[in-house]
Amino acid sequence: MDSAVIAQQVRSFIIENYLLDSQVTLANGDSFLQTGILDSTGVLELVAFLEEQYGITLEEGDLIPENLDSIDNILAYLSRKMKITQEQSETSATRVTAWGGNK
């Protein structure tokens, strides 16, 4: 998926759910924590959005600001994560083929 499209989707999610009527402008590098945009419930909602939208699973260790504290951080995280997820599904597809071939 194109990173510009993902950036727009994440930005829309943040604006629609957390900025509401606010006049705050959000740059891609702005920290959600420092600007007070996200609380712990907001993080859980963001996690659910990312899992549903991009078909990934966020593990306990993934829930750190380095991955989720700005649109830029989310994009970088998704890029790493989706690559990993894609590699994993390719590997399991290869395994299924290999097992199929052994029968």
Partner: protein, 327 residues
Amino acid sequence: MSPAISPDILHVDPALETERIAAGIRHIVFNRLKRKGAVIGVSGGIDSSVVAFLCAHALGKERVFLLFMPEAESSGDNLRLGRLVAQCLDVQSIVEDIGPILRAARCYERRDESVRAVVPGYGEGYKCKIVLPNLIEEERYAVFSVVVQSPDGRMKKVRLSAKAYLGIVAATNFKQRTRKMIEYYYADLLQYAVAGTPNRLEYDQGFFVKNGDGAADLKPIAHLYKSQVYQLAAYLGVPEEIQRRPPSTDTYSLQQSQEEFYFSMPLAKMDLCLFGKDNGIAAADLAPAAGLTEEQVNRVYTMVETRRKVTRYLHTAPLLIEKIEGV
């Protein structure tokens, strides 16, 4: 180089502080609120016990009324220790079982439905609590998990979805709001004020339910750090069993410490960090006294600031579109 910070920095003169608070209670109750005494919901924990002792000292034992409000999931010790406080002070008290009100409001049923959304099969005979990860060891988000214990004693921890978390919290908040409703019943009946029991950490960091335990007419220990509450407890003669008892929220069926629920670090350390943050003490100077690294103290400073922002709503009184003159 800055002078070393001592862990004793939170020491108070308990006699002086007791008299200062007592004068404040008398002034607020009699002069500002024009009430005849104070109602206090006593949980058997350190904070409510100290408030009961302070009110009795300030207003006289005949002007203090204690309430014990157990429900199905309360620890039995709470009622026993609450009664011990009433006995020590020789004040009027009453037990109000809030279980029937909670069942009628479907508090347990609604909470269990939300738990089942992440732990299918949760139901009769199970126990639960919600917990935070350790936030001091590494920088991470304060996202809640639910810990459930099955009837055969097996424990399971599952990260909550936002919907399940909100459902559990909204349902369990019935407990604090029901208790406050009962407190105000007796306050109306006796023309007394309701004394709230938050300490400084709870008040500052929004560790209360809006219009639940956050509601009160006065909050006599809201300026005291938790360790200062313990100092006053020792001075006032609060029963030792209460002084030794680990703080608990008394909200969930599984025993839940306040560290697990909100602060995710020992309260004594949190006290020092909050003091350091409030007084502009550099993390490097505070770290040795708190037994933490500079990095950990900085993390707590950030956490304190973030929580102040996200819990501002809890402190906000009802807002008007325009000011009403004369009120």
